[in-house]
Structures are given as structure tokens and as C-alpha cells.
Amino acid sequence: MPGKGKGMNRVIGYIFIVPAVIYMLVLIGYPIIYNWIISFQDVTTTTLGSAVRDFIGFDNYKAVFSDSTFKKSIINTFIYTVGCLIIQFSIGFLMAIFFSKKFRFSQPIRGFIVISWMLPVTVTALVFKFMFAEGNGIVNAILTNLNIIKEPIGWLLKGNTAMLVLIIANSWVGIPFNMLLITNGLNNISNDIYESASIDGANTIQKFFRITVPLLKTTILSVLVLGFVLTFKVFDLVYVMTGGGPVDATEVLSTYSYKTSFQLFQFGQGAAAANILFVCLFIVALIYLRTISKDEVM
């Protein structure tokens, strides 16, 4: 009787996951495999509709790697991601600690802050675009009125400042996310440890570095890796705010792939660029899984 029950349970178990598996295979698995295939084929306007396309090996990848815009987009994507991570993580961490003190109104204020994470990114992109506009932007207005700058800055007109604005905008969006995850991690550290440390004579800084940080290690790792992956594949924020401009100063891998495929109709090359993005994130994910499993074994 028990044996029969176990077999039946397993079958039922499999049936339960069938919808999810179908969904993953069709909507995620198939496109990824198809993308890999066309990245090795000659797919342009003339061959898009045909059933048979020439296999051209790594030609698409070679073409993509020799494109200066692509190289710029890889650099930009990394600068953007690292910049965002540093800002989001540090400020998110500080805010998590700040709000863990449980003062009055800490809950509603924290809820309020999360709104920036919940706004559609397109809305955020447009709002920041208007705020940082050279002519009538509110940022320039405030800065000139406070005499911090003498002339309005063309934020989205120069490469460096445009990237800065993107990082600021994305940080505004991402800080609550970081904050919430770290708060969760902080809550899992019981106060007893802090109390016993105080009894032993530890000061705040020692408590922070010797207790908080080590116990938060897995949380910090998850936040960083998740943040990296989510930030690395940014599309909507960049596309709406700068379109990759000025010229290609804020072009990132995702916008490059999109433009190559849908504006220049070089579908094979666009697919190659998208795969390179995939590989970068895959490597990061692998490193993460390795690090996690090492910890678990310990």
C-alpha cells in the first residue's frame, strides 16, 4: 500500500508541474535555442522569411565584435551595472539599518519609499528625462538658484553626464529593492547575539563588522548577484531616456541588440549580441551558485 501511494504521489507531482514546464519550455527555452541557432545563420531582410538559411559559423559574432559601437556598449553596460550596484547597495544597506531601528513612522515611510520600485520604469525614465532637461529641467533650475552651478548643464547631451543620470534614475528605482532584501536579512539575526556582544563589551563598529556583516553574507551575495543580473539587462530605462545616445554614449548590450535586429534588420548579428549578454549573465550566475553551494556544504 505505501509503495503504491508513493508512485502515485510522484506522478501527481509531475502533473502539477506540467503547466509550468510547458510554459518555460515554450516561452523561454524555445526562444533561447532559436536565438542561438539564428546567431549562426545569415538572417537579414532577404532571409528572414525563408525556411532555409545559410550557416555562416561565427561570422555574426566576428561582425559584432569588430563593431566599435558593440565594444562601447559592453563597456557602458559594465560601467552602468557596477555604478548602480555600488550606489544602490550602499544606500540600500544604510537605509535598511536606519529603518530597522523601528522609530515612529518607520513602517509607513519605508512603504512610501518602495513606490519608486513599483512605478513602471518607462514613467521613471520620462520623468527623469524632463527633470534633467537642459532648458527647463528642474534639476538645473534648483542648482542654478542655489548657485551651485552658473550655467545649466546639458545632462543628457554629453556622454558622461547622461550615464550619470541613468545611474541616478536606476538607483532611485533599485534602492528600495536592496533595502527590503537586506531588511529581511537583518530581521533574521536575532537580537540575542547583539546583546551578548554588548555584554562582552563590543562597540557599534565591532558589532557591525563582526556580527552583522558575516551573518548577512548569503543575503548580501544574493542581493549583489540579483542586482547585477537585473541591472545588466536594462532596456526600457535606457531606451526611453536616451535611446542609447548621445550618439552611442549610453548604448548598452540590450539596446544594441534590439537596434541591430529591429532597426538595421541584421537579425543574426542582433541575436549574437543578445547571446553575448546571456553568456555574461550565465557566468555570473554560475559563480553565484558555486559560492552558495560552498557555503551550504560548510
Binding site: V18, I22, L48, E134, G154, G245, P246, V247
Partner: protein
């Protein structure tokens, strides 16, 4: 019991998923609905005339067509331009294409080579109303076959704010030197002399071509002195502050907003902006003129507009019925006038039609010498080389010589 219910739910979810995956044959069914025994044929028409402006008139025209006969029934579908272009691309692979589709004239060739549009040379040659301007029709031709019919055209001209010009004591400029001098007098702390769109997409290239052609340059020889002269001139205006630095992020619609709000005394734009200015600044007194020509050059403008074609796998006969009606002698002029475009028909003398309409008359004149872009299936890449060069120079990233040689290299590499 709970498990059974849950199991049933899961199975039905799975079934629903699979059912959803199977239903992709919407577009192809129109092929089967041949008109038999007088049954009405349903066809779909995809366009990008925005609902709140030109779209209204398109819908009216479609209704008129549907009411005038009952062999063919047209359902018009509006999609924003970018989205529509993507749908065509997706449609090539999925097979879901409309019966009649609208496309921007420089892009037409690219989509033909993708297999979006059908060869309608036969229909066209046996059509007794087949009489279109050469420049307009050329964008529909690919490898000597016709893949569409011009829907309407427009071009670029100079819009000027009469009040601001009078106040500064400036005459309407006709040459580049006059334009520069005018800008000098018109530019103040809150007003820029001129507004253009130098954005990093097709609109930027569109806006740049009149200047390029006027100086004697061309898209084949971007690194010629004449071509470089045009870009140097515009950069000069930018450096002197007559053009706002933000033009590299402006679309033509943004430029219109600048003009309508009085922040720019003049702008380069097209007749489709008339309704926009009406709405934004109904009291604005403005005039239009030709785009100023290079001091030793000619008046030039660029041809814009849309084409309509029959898509692959469509119900061709029914589609042609609608297509030939809306671009035919009777309807074309009416349609175009309502949406701020000019009929591409050679038998429509726009100058006579608009004899009493000062502003449209100017554009009718400009249209005669407006040059079309391409046609070439690689137009998007040529266009990219052009607007990239313009942006690089405007942002100071490269000087004119380097930018233009780079652009020329890219164009050459396209064979």
C-alpha cells in the same frame, strides 16, 4: 478530494496553455474567405496615422468605402509607427500580416526584401488610374517590380513666427547667410533662432537631407566638400547658440512644440504639423517658406510620405479594390488634404488645388523638387551612418571631416 480538484485545475491549465499555443492562424484565414456568391470579403488595413489626428480621417474614409459597396469590408487597425514596423517583421515569420499595409516610403524597399509585400505590377499596369509622380512611385519599386502605391507625400520647409521676425526687423531668410544673420537678431536668452530635429533616428536624417542637397552634396558622396559644407554650417549655428544643443534629442514633434511655445523663432518642419500648431498655439501668426538654400546652391527639400501595399498571403483582389479606391483619382486628393499630406498623383495639380491656401501652396511648390530617400533595402543603415555623423559633430565628439569620412566608409561597406 482536494488533490483531485487541484489535479483537475492543473490539467485544465495545461490544456488551456496548449490551446493558446495553437491559435495563430488569424492572418491566414483571410486568404480562404474568397468572395463566393456575393459574400462580403473581410480585409484588414494596418496603418500608423494616429487616432487623435490623422487617424480620424482614415477611419472616415474606410467607413465611406465600406458603405459604398458590399463586396469588400475593411477593418482599419492603428498601430504606432515603430510598433507597426515591428509587427511586419514578426509577421514575416509568423504569417500574421494584414491585407493592406502602410509603410514609410524609405523603409518600403527593406520590407519588400523581407517578403512583407506582394508584387502588384500586374494590378498596377492594368489600372487606368495609375498615374503617380515618379519620385513617389520610385520608393515602391524593387528590382523593377511594383510593390505598393504611394499614399501621400510631404516635404520640409521653413516655418517662421511673423511676430518675432517683425519685432526684430528681420526679413524671411532665403539663403544660409541670411538665415544666420536672422538668427543672430532673433536669438535672445529665452528664444532660439531656429529649431530642428537632429535626433538619432530616421527623423534626424530626414531633417538633414535638405541642407545636404542644397549645398550640392549627396548621400553617395558624404565626404565631398559640398556635403561637409552643409554639416559645418549647421554646426556653426549650433556653436553660436542659434540652435539649441537639445536638438539632438528632439523629434520633429518636439521642435514643433518649441516653435509653438515661442521658444524658437523658426523651425524646419512639414505640413503635417499644421494641425499640431493649431492645437498648441491657435493664435500664433506664422508663415512658411522654402528651406534657405546654400549661398551658391539650390533650393532643396526631402520627400517624405507613406506607401500602401498588399501584404503577402492577403486576399489580393479585395485588397486591391480598397487600395486602388483610396489612392484613386476620386479619393486621393481629399484623403491627403485631410491628413496634411500631398497627393502623390501626377494628375493632381497641388498648386491649383491650394491656390488659395498660402501655406499649403508653398509646400506644393517645394514638393516638386523634393528628393526621395533611397530607394534601397539597406536604407536603414545608410540613414544610420548619416544621423550618427550629424550627432557626432553636434556633440563635439568628432569634427566634420572625420565624421563624414566615417559615414562614407560605412555607406561604402554596404556595397
Amino acid at each position: 478530494m482536494k488533490k483531485v480538484i487541484a489535479l483537475l485545475m492543473v490539467l485544465s491549465m495545461g490544456a488551456a496553455l496548449l490551446a493558446g499555443c495553437g491559435g495563430t492562424s488569424d492572418g491566414a484565414t483571410s486568404q480562404e474567405s474568397q468572395s463566393e456568391n456575393g459574400e462580403t470579403v473581410e480585409i484588414e488595413f494596418w496603418h500608423y496615422m494616429s487616432e487623435d489626428k490623422e487617424g480620424k480621417y482614415v477611419n472616415e474614409a474606410v467607413e465611406e468605402f465600406n458603405n459604398s459597396q458590399d463586396e469588400v469590408h475593411v477593418t482599419a487597425q492603428y498601430l504606432p509607427r515603430d510598433e507597426l514596423m515591428k509587427q511586419y517583421t514578426i509577421g514575416v515569420v509568423s504569417g500574421e500580416l494584414p491585407d493592406v499595409g502602410m509603410v514609410d516610403n524609405p523603409d518600403h524597399n527593406s520590407y519588400v526584401s523581407m517578403g512583407v509585400f506582394e508584387d502588384i505590377t500586374e494590378y498596377y499596369n492594368s489600372w487606368d488610374e495609375a498615374n503617380f509622380l515618379e519620385g513617389s512611385l520610385s520608393s515602391c519599386i524593387y528590382e523593377d517590380k511594383i510593390y505598393g502605391v504611394p499614399w501621400g507625400n510631404n516635404c520640409l520647409g521653413l516655418f517662421y513666427n511673423k511676430e518675432l521676425l517683425d519685432a526684430a526687423g528681420v526679413e524671411v531668410p532665403t539663403t544660409w547667410s541670411e538665415l544666420e544673420a536672422a538668427c543672430e537678431k532673433l536669438t535672445t536668452d529665452s528664444v532660439k533662432g531656429l529649431a530642428i530635429s537632429a535626433i538619432g533616428n530616421e527623423e534626424g536624417t530626414f531633417q538633414y537631407i535638405p541642407w545636404l542637397l542644397s549645398a550640392g552634396g549627396s548621400l553617395d558622396s558624404l565626404d565631398s566638400d559640398a556635403s561637409k559644407e552643409s554639416l559645418t554650417y549647421l554646426k556653426g549655428l549650433l556653436d553660436k547658440g542659434y540652435l539649441s544643443q537639445e536638438c539632438i534629442n528632439w523629434t520633429q514633434a518636439d521642435a514643433e512644440k518649441q516653435f509653438a511655445s515661442g521658444q524658437a523663432a523658426m523651425m524646419i518642419n512639414g505640413p503635417w504639423q499644421f494641425s499640431g500648431i493649431e492645437e498648441d498655439a491657435p493664435d500664433l501668426e506664422y508663415g512658411v517658406a522654402k528651406v534657405p538654400k546654400a549661398d551658391d546652391g539650390v533650393y532643396a527639400s526631402v520627400l517624405g510620405g507613406e506607401n500602401v501595399g498588399i501584404c503577402t498571403g492577403a486576399n489580393a483582389d479585395a485588397a486591391w479594390k480598397f487600395l486602388s479606391w483610396i489612392t484613386g483619382e476620386e479619393k486621393s486628393q481629399e484623403m491627403c488634404e485631410s491628413i496634411g499630406r500631398f497627393s502623390s498623383r501626377a494628375d493632381v495639380d497641388s498648386e491649383t488645388v491650394y491656390a488659395d491656401d498660402e501655406k499649403n501652396l508653398v509646400f506644393a511648390e517645394i514638393l516638386k523638387n523634393a528628393q526621395s530617400r533611397g530607394p534601397s533595402p539597406q536604407w536603414p543603415e545608410i540613414s544610420k551612418a548619416v544621423y550618427t555623423a550629424m550627432q557626432e559633430v553636434f556633440t563635439g565628439q568628432k569634427d566634420v571631416d572625420t565624421a563624414m569620412s566615417n559615414a562614407q566608409e560605412k555607406v561604402d561597406a554596404l556595397e
